[in-house]
Amino acid sequence: MTPSRFAQAIQSPSAQVRPAGRHALLVELPDAERTAAFHAELLRRRAAGTLPPVEDIVPGARTVLLDGVARPEELARRIAGWDVPPRTADEGAAVEIPVRYDGPDLARVAALWGVRAEEVAARHSSYPYRVAFCGFAPGFGYLTGLPPELHVPRRDTPRTRVPAGALALAGPYSAVYPRATPGGWQLIGTMPDPTPLWDLGKEEPALLTPGTRVRFVAEGGTP
């Protein structure tokens, strides 16, 4: 390995910038909140034209991947010197997702939360959510917002088919399945019409893009 090349992580007080091949770097942040702030800062700088061209900006749980970068080492050094402000209060309207809280794992989740099944809807829909990142399938957003005491484990045995529109929980995340796939998350509800989650007829096909604020709106009482 030649020492002049970007081969080792660059440490800054707020982030660790790691090499990820010849044309990418992976910025690791201390927690989800600072990951969101760093992602927002990248989008701001890209919109302002002060970020060199980056093909893909891909947030993860504690990281943001910058892929398709001409000179990753140079950008890594610049990023290490950034002073990223904390995320400001959320602006604009949240995307509202109507949900029937009628999933097959509702009783199990209620038991884990120590509440009655009828109370899951009110609890889950009372928190504001945010798309931390996407993955798994096009338009599948990992939503944070549940307080730690309501985090639940995945199912021991994944389902071979989770229907499109299923509202599901796993770890710190809530998600709505844009289409039917296998899945191991706990299903607590249903978005009656999931087509807006991934609509190729729209210029922006994903409803839930990273950074988007989300509110769940409980529909029609309890089952």
Binding site: M1, A7, A9, R18, P19, A20, G21, R22, H23, A24, L25, L26, E55, D56, I57, V58, P59, G60, A61, R62, T63, V64, L65, D67, G68, F133, C134, G135, F136, A137, P138, G139, F140, Y142, L200, P205, A206, T209, P210
Partner: protein, 285 residues
């Protein structure tokens, strides 16, 4: 009227591919695109097609196609017998297929994936700027089936052809340069030495998502799950069984297994043509 191509025999797995749809990874959309990108580019160039023209990518067993107009095609990538109505025709250079005749693309004699480019390109409707079939997320046209009919684009004026097209032979041994990171420290120092010195082999379970390997297991120093993070093309991800997987074009956009290093994109074309059992050497650098 648009010229059309009827699929007479779809083969084991034949898909429409172009240069893919990068730029949508943040929505969970894989890049997709031809695995042997230089082979696709050369086939298109020989026909005067633009570089983003869509082609067909076959897998081991070829395919058979019947145009309803006289068309010019190039079959390249993995070498294979090429026929027109049963008569031998050229591999690796332009072939004229009369209207109604059957172009036979035979099983590979070396390599894995042959590319069938048609003058004018395969003109299926693009999705997010690409006509590629993405086998992970199901975007783009489904893998071809017998009887499918594909629209063709208008051919370019006949180009000046190079005298000899430089098709590389598939690798007898696959050498994959590896740049360590971003999660090398999840592994023991011995694991990196093992990766750089042991011989791995291409697993028969490889596909468009990843080149799976058989060989010594890479030992981790850190256990537990890695919080999901973005994955690049060529990432060498190490799942719990310790056997490295080299991510190819239909790879997931995020993943939870550590990436010990990344193979640069130019080296992946050879990986796409390495048959099951081919020895692999990873070289650090």
């Amino acid at each position: 009227m648009t010229a059309k191509l009827t699929v007479v025999r779809s083969g084991a797995l034949t898909t429409v591919q172009d240069r893919g749809r990068p730029g949508h990874a943040h929505l969970g959309v894989p890049r997709s695109g031809a695995l042997d990108a230089p082979a696709m580019a050369l086939a298109n160039r020989l026909l005067g097609n633009p570089p983003d023209a869509a082609v067909l990518e076959t897998t081991l067993t070829g395919c058979a196609l019947r145009p309803d107009r006289t068309v010019t095609v190039v079959v390249g990538g993995a070498s294979c017998p090429v026929t027109v109505d049963g008569r031998p025709a050229a591999w690796g250079g332009p072939v004229r297929v009369p209207a109604g005749a059957v172009l036979g693309v035979g099983g590979v004699t070396a390599g894995v994936r042959s590319y069938v480019a048609v003058a004018g390109g395969i003109a299926v409707e693009p999705v997010l700027g690409s006509r590629s079939t993405d086998l992970l997320s199901g975007l783009g046209p489904a893998p071809l089936r017998d009887g499918d009919v594909l629209p063709l684009g208008p051919p370019a004026p006949r180009p000046a052809l190079p005298a000899a097209a430089p098709w590389p032979a598939p690798p007898a041994e696959l050498t994959l340069p590896l740049r360590p990171g971003p999660r090398t420290e999840w592994f023991t120092p011995a694991a990196l030495r093992t990766l750089a010195s042991a011989t791995y082999r291409v697993s028969q379970h490889s596909n468009r998502i990843g080149l799976r390997t058989e060989g010594p297991s890479l030992e981790r120093v850190r256990t537990g799950e890695l919080p999901s993070e973005g994955m690049v093309l060529g990432a060498v991800q190490v799942p719990p069984d310790g056997r490295p997987v080299v991510f190819l074009h239909d790879h997931p956009t995020t993943g939870g297994y550590p990436v010990i290093g990344v193979v640069p994109e130019p080296a992946l074309a050879a990986a796409a043509q390495a048959a099951a059992g081919t020895p692999i050497r990873f070289t650090l650098g």
